[in-house]
């Protein structure tokens, strides 16, 4: 028999964690612009990420228009198409998803959820945002540079990335791209140190690691991964910049271009691929793990049930994080590598399915017999589970070498990764925004607009990406600006392409409703109160909403329990906040 009698305390020992001194802003500039408050930085990160993300959304429309109606739009030349592909991919993966999950949600939620006043290094945190903004501006500048942005594909594979045949290869495009990435990584490292060390050192009394909400576990593990994975992109970017600007041959083999022998020689493009994917694969989980964590919290809160298998969830997050570093070469099955090497990476890739499946089962078992409230955040969380499973299953196909080789350069891959790391994390981001908006602003987002936004986005995403799997299986190659008259491509593919494009336009425009809701609800939303979802985690227990600089007012919270005490038998209400000493009498911390 397990003893379930709660241990209680009569009095609380003095704090081991010294209260921190905060930098107190003195002017409008230091309060709202050069702010060191993690919550303001979070909003700045999110705003910038969404703004540049909208640019990437428009680029995807242009690509879709070209694929559905080739030759109709004069301004979409082949060069422009490749530029759209490249910038869309890079922006969405790095500048939107990574920045929004870690810089946005990480900054807002970590200090509040662990019970800290702020991040541990607020100044570095502020610098992190401004360097990120600079990286975005450099990226945007490449649109206006002569020759336009780079069109090398988001993987920037050499040698083509820095040759004349690729848009931006011999002009400024690729230089600006690489510089922007280098800046991004420097900025991210400053922020990342904060997220990690705040979780390690900033936790309030009673907040053990095993009492952290899974959101924090997800963001924490993802940040550790990002800190170790982004250096690979940094190394690859610096070395390619050397090749492009200083004429070295790290990646550049001997080449003849337009009948002229170039000065490069001996370099290894495969070396670049190793470095790039050493970053690139963990990057998938850098985006996925925060999503996993957030979804766990959304499901538990809105199903009024404790998360099933909390320990397993934590172990699975850590396990996925570790495993994701030894699977990178599954992106390189078609690079001519040793088949046994491929076999090794196929095995590690498929092993990741085990902890991932544990997580999916635990979400479903959390929902099982839960008191499910179909709120907007819950709808998005449920949509995520479905979408992630769908995208994950096609991952099993592509993880196997023999299946991947024929599918590798088809639209099937595009459909797969858009489902699993495009649509799925974005659904979580929407869910998280609907969930935490009341804490950030003090007002609820409009429910009717939210329903409209959810259904159009969810159904629309499937209308876009489900048919794309079929197009890929038929053998339609990806990265082609137009298909032309090709015997093996049936007419139905062209019809489907038009259908997908129309769906993409509709889903894209539906996001305007979401943006409108964000601004409209600031003024006209229903007053939310401090804890509208009746959630247990610390961020909902702040004395004032929205929380001010320093978060907690006079007294730091003390944590008495884990983050998932929902529907506890005998409790006065269906949730017990983490800082609620029930059944002991509340004591005032000293």
């Amino acid at each position: 028999m397990v003893d379930v009698t709660p241990r209680t305390v009569a009095e609380i020992p003095p704090a081991e964690v010294p209260d921190v001194e905060l930098y107190h802003p003195h002017s409008w500039w230091t309060t709202y612009v050069f702010s060191q408050d993690a919550k303001v930085i979070a909003i700045q990160y999110s705003g910038t990420a969404v703004a540049i993300g909208l640019v990437a959304l428009v680029l995807s429309w242009l690509m879709r228009l070209q694929l559905a109606f080739p030759g109709t739009f004069d301004f979409i030349t082949a060069e422009a198409y490749y530029q759209f592909v490249t910038m869309h991919g890079m922006i969405m993966v790095v500048y939107l998803l990574t920045a929004l999950f870690l810089g946005g949600f990480g900054n807002y939620l970590i200090p509040l959820m662990v019970g800290a006043r702020d991040m541990v290094f607020p100044y570095a945190n502020m610098l992190s945002y401004w360097i990120y903004l600079l990286a975005v501006l450099v990226l945007v500048a490449s649109f206006f540079a002569p020759g336009g942005p780079t069109g090398a594909g988001w993987t920037l594979y050499p040698p083509q990335a820095i040759l004349g045949g690729t848009p931006g290869g011999e002009q400024a495009g690729i230089i600006l791209m690489l510089s922007s990435l280098i800046l991004f990584i420097i900025g991210f490292t400053m922020g990342g140190l904060n997220y990690v060390v705040t979780v390690l050192q900033g936790r309030t009394r009673g907040m053990t690691l095993m009492r952290l909400p899974l959101t924090v576990w997800g963001i924490f593990t993802a940040t550790v991964m990002a800190l170790l994975a982004f250096p690979a992109l940094f190394v690859a970017s610096v070395m390619m910049l050397f090749d492009r600007v200083l004429g070295t041959s790290f990646f550049m083999p001997a080449l003849v271009e337009m009948g002229e022998q170039l000065s490069y020689g001996g370099g290894s493009p495969i070396l670049f691929q190793h470095l790039f994917w050493f970053f690139g694969h963990p990057e998938v989980y850098i985006v996925a793990l925060p999503a996993f964590g957030i979804v766990s919290d959304l499901i538990s809160t809105h199903a009024r049930k404790n998360i099933f298998g909390y320990r397993m969830m934590v172990w699975a997050i850590v396990g996925i994080g570790a495993l994701s570093f030894i699977v990178w070469a599954h992106h390189m099955y078609v690079s001519g590598m040793d088949p046994y090497f491929g076999f090794f990476f196929a095995t590690t890739t498929l092993i990741i399915a085990v902890p991932t499946a544990i997580k999916v089962y635990n979400w479903i078992l959390t929902l099982w017999r839960g008191d499910i409230h179909l709120t907007i955040p819950m709808l998005f969380a449920l949509a995520f589970i479905v979408t992630f499973v769908n995208g994950g299953l096609t991952g099993l196909f592509l993880g196997n070498v023999v299946v991947d080789v024929p599918l590798s350069d088809t639209m099937f891959v595009v459909a797969h990764f858009h489902m699993v790391m495009g649509v799925a994390p974005i659904l979580v981001i929407f869910g998280a925004i609907y969930h935490w908006y009341p804490k950030i602003t003090g007002r609820m987002l409009n429910e009717a607009l939210g329903q409209f936004h959810f259904w159009v986005t969810f159904v629309g995403a499937y209308l876009i990406f489900f048919p794309m799997h079929y197009i890929g299986l038929v053998g339609v190659p990806r990265r082609y600006v137009e298909l032309g008259d090709t015997a093996f491509i049936p007419a139905s593919v062209h019809t489907l392409n038009e259908f997908i494009t129309i769906a993409a336009l509709v889903v894209g425009f539906a996001q305007i409703v979401f943006l409108f809701n964000l601004f409209w609800s600031l003024r006209h939303g229903r007053e939310a109160g401090g804890n509208p979802w009746r959630a247990t985690t610390l961020e909902w227990q702040t004395p004032t909403t929205p929380p001010p600089h320093g978060n907690w007012g006079k007294h730091m919270p003390v944590v008495y329990r884990w983050a998932y005490d929902y529907s506890v038998p005998g409790a006065p209400q269906d949730f017990i906040a983490q800082n609620d000493p029930w059944p002991a009498r509340p004591t005032v911390p000293g």
Binding site: V2, R7, V197, L200, V235, S263, G266, Y310, V318, R561
Partner: protein
């Protein structure tokens, strides 16, 4: 990529050791209250030191990746190993001196000997500057004697690795300058001591990185790897 995989295994080992002390097997849903037992973070180590430790792990990862790239690029037939300029030995000695000076500063600041601390900090900073100047001389030597950056990948890696290491020293000098300024100001003793310790920690790490780069560039690392490979096969 074996170097970086080994590096990550080390990191994974440290993380696993740390995680194993975090009661990951506990059942949080059964435990309530008792904040005295379930203490928060280990307050014994200052936050700044943990922060620097994490940063050094990132820097270590960066150089491990450079080393991986070095070994992979080396296997291509156009690689022509380059003689190391003599001055690098002198530079190495100077960087060791710099590290020793900062270690003296740490000891002195712990004993509250402010004058020795100041002297050691300035010595550490100046020797680091001399090291950087020496590296620039090494560059000039090489370009003059016909080993420019773009002639061969071995040369390119030499300039790239020394430049990256030098940039990290420059960053460290900024922190060291602030610490030295603090040593003349009215900063509380504990603050100064912590800053000096952080500088010394960073300096020792960069010395270690430099020695690793030196071993790599001198070709000893490659011979070592060859010996290991022969032993294994």
């Amino acid at each position: 990529m074996s170097v970086v995989v080994v590096f990550l295994l080390v990191i994974a080992g440290i993380s696993a050791w740390w995680l194993s002390r975090q009661r990951l097997l506990s059942k949080p849903w059964l435990e309530q209250g008792a904040p005295d037992l379930l203490d928060g973070p280990e307050a014994a180590i200052p936050t700044q030191k943990i922060g620097l430790g994490v940063f050094l792990a990132v820097v270590g990862c960066l150089f491990a990746l450079f080393a991986s790239a070095y070994f992979m690029r080396m296997e291509v037939s156009d690689w022509r190993a380059m003689p190391l300029p003599r001055i690098l030995w002198v530079n190495t000695g100077i960087l060791v001196l710099s590290s020793v000076a900062l270690q003296i500063a740490v000891v002195a600041s712990r004993r509250d000997q402010l004058d020795t601390t100041r002297l050691a900090l300035v010595t550490g900073g100046l020797t680091a500057l001399v090291f950087l100047a020496g590296q620039l001389l090494a560059w000039r030597d090489l370009t003059d004697s016909g080993y420019p950056l773009d002639a061969n990948p071995a040369n390119s890696f030499f300039y790239l690795l020394t430049a990256m290491h030098g940039l990290h020293i420059v960053g460290g000098l900024v922190a060291l300058a602030r610490t030295t300024y603090k040593a003349w100001g009215a900063a509380p003793r504990e603050r100064l001591q912590l800053s000096v310790e952080l500088c010394a920690m960073y300096w020792h790490f960069l010395l270690f990185i430099w020695l690793a780069i030196f071993v790599l560039l001198a070709g000893w690392a490659a011979s070592f790897v060859d010996i290991c490979r022969q032993l294994l096969t």
